[in-house]
Symmetry: C2
Subunit: 408 residues, 2 copies
Amino acid sequence: MATTRDWAEQLDANDELAVYRDRFVPIVDPGLVAYLDGNSLGRPLLATAERLEHLVRHEWGSRLIRSWSEGWLTLPERVGDELGRVAIGAAPGQVIVADSTSVCLYKTVRAALALRPGRIEIVTDTSNFPTDRFVVDGIAEQFALTVKRISPDPLTGVRPDDVDAAVGDGTAVVVLSHVDYRSAAVADMAAITRIAHGRGALVVWDLCHSAGAMPVELDAAGVDFAVGCTYKFLNAGPGAPAFLYVNSKHHNGFRQPITGWIGAEDIFAMADRFRPAPGIRRALSGTPPITGMVGVDEGVALLAEAGIGRVRTKAQALGRLVIELADEWLVPLGFTVASPRSDELRGAHVMLRHPDAERLSQRLIDNGVIIDFRNPDGIRVGLSPLTTSYAEVWHALSVISDVAGTGP
Amino acid sequence: MATTRDWAEQLDANDELAVYRDRFVPIVDPGLVAYLDGNSLGRPLLATAERLEHLVRHEWGSRLIRSWSEGWLTLPERVGDELGRVAIGAAPGQVIVADSTSVCLYKTVRAALALRPGRIEIVTDTSNFPTDRFVVDGIAEQFALTVKRISPDPLTGVRPDDVDAAVGDGTAVVVLSHVDYRSAAVADMAAITRIAHGRGALVVWDLCHSAGAMPVELDAAGVDFAVGCTYKFLNAGPGAPAFLYVNSKHHNGFRQPITGWIGAEDIFAMADRFRPAPGIRRALSGTPPITGMVGVDEGVALLAEAGIGRVRTKAQALGRLVIELADEWLVPLGFTVASPRSDELRGAHVMLRHPDAERLSQRLIDNGVIIDFRNPDGIRVGLSPLTTSYAEVWHALSVISDVAGTGP
């Protein structure tokens, strides 16, 4: 009876994380059956709604400009420190919350290049998320660098052997995603970082699809730079600021290209020349986006309560359920499971491929099952352990089966 | 009786804009006498508080990921168009709201440089706001360019003659602020732009201290690029996204350096190579910061109601009142009025200099008069016509007089 609805409900009854679902803003939409797109946009916490109200009425509305010195100015580092501790294995003083992932990626890749003068190659891979490839290509074009693109097996993602074959003495930096945005394949961060370092290259890891969904150990892996978004598994809100990690071993040497005033040693000196702030703060540029930052703060706080270990365990169980149901109901209808079957090697989503995926995706959304279509033939089922229930997954898969089974 | 309290109250009674004060979140702080720092952080609108609540509960919380296609994705241009129309004299399709001023400045200066290959000089001025000078210096360092710094008269700011003397055949771009952040001197945008163009150079104008406070006519002046923040006179909130203007004459040619996915022609194609979106949209990089954007939208909407012309007229009248009271009460105490006395040449703040300004500023804040200290000896009195009353100014100046008069 592995795939009955009763069984899914039994899993929910035994789920230690089920209590956290009530901490989120209720979805008011009678037609919505399942929200399996938290890996594109996580749901809002009730605490974030309350915090924004307090921010507007009290901090911004009544304390006014004084709030900058009463806490806002240090938010990028304080929230970054907590995010580092709770989600990505970074000791304090190495993470800030700022800008967008694209801008943070630009800063870190440029900073890495500056630390490797004379080396003119960037290594990335063809399955990396578009913004990563685009930003890397844009930098290469501006600075007459070459980009070497690994073409990994779509199902496994980039493996250490791939990197070993690609990285050479001319490689300045390797830019990869920790979890593949299509297949959910988890890259071996520690091994790949070691290989890159062995050739004298630096690494920039994009954690968009792993931060908040599974333990990441940046310090332990000796990673140089990392970036990621907060609006997926950290539930920080649409376009909430990204995070940027710089390993403390680089803090004396790194310079990022957008030398705005907030990254200066003394912001209010109104100095003649820019002198970078010590440590991670020099990675900042403009005025920190406070309304977006409180969502990050609250999202990280809830994750701290729930624990990234439990989140990971539930994400794996939800993934197994998707795969079991897909094998039973969807594979006979022409679907393929395009994510790793091993719990260890799979992030917190499952990719289902189908030749008619684009049209099916629209019909699913029309039927209240919100998933992501990913060009050209992927239906991405996102699993957010703090909000996704087993019964929700069961319902969603049954609707996919119905919709795909009944034809157009 | 030009400077009695009654007279100030009479000015309020006759003020057409006084009604707009009730559209803002009330300040809950019994000790606060006057908030004269709206040019650092404008106050929140009630509409913004309500809009954020709706955003979190409905758009983000219930429509979830669908909100991106239901309006969020086009917000940067839609809010930008309205800001362009209401505040800065830009026809539709030339303004986006995104990133921070520092990042927007980086993008526009780099885009301008790319349009003037072979020219290796950037002209700016020593009184420009630190982030402008720092970002320019950072770009120059990265690309082996030279920076020529005009040293303007502090009171008048940069004059056309200064620019005429500085700009040459090797100048790629002139980067200046429209309103000086210390003196409030208004630069002659049209004349300076004409002079730069006459030498084949482009201009980037920073509108941080003019957008929302006085009419700006970017299209009419033939400006190439402009940037500015929204959290001052546009009341959009702490760290709200900035705006970026690119004149349509450059839309075919301009390329900015941070080629993220949101600036691509087809975001969801997940294409192999970056192809820039047509028009202003190519100036975008990362996912738009939606929670910050709604404050811009509401701030611009209120300005549209009030009208930039009336805002400007009141800002000038408030400035005159500050100067009259300063002449009468403060100059005898050792203060200097360090802003232009001409209404036409002064933005929406007045700078008062005093040798003991730093200590006085703290005592003023302790006494409920919130102004800005500006290194080394400036007390900056910000005037936000939609929230600042004449009586508030009168009270503030009387407190300054008391505090400075009673000694330490």
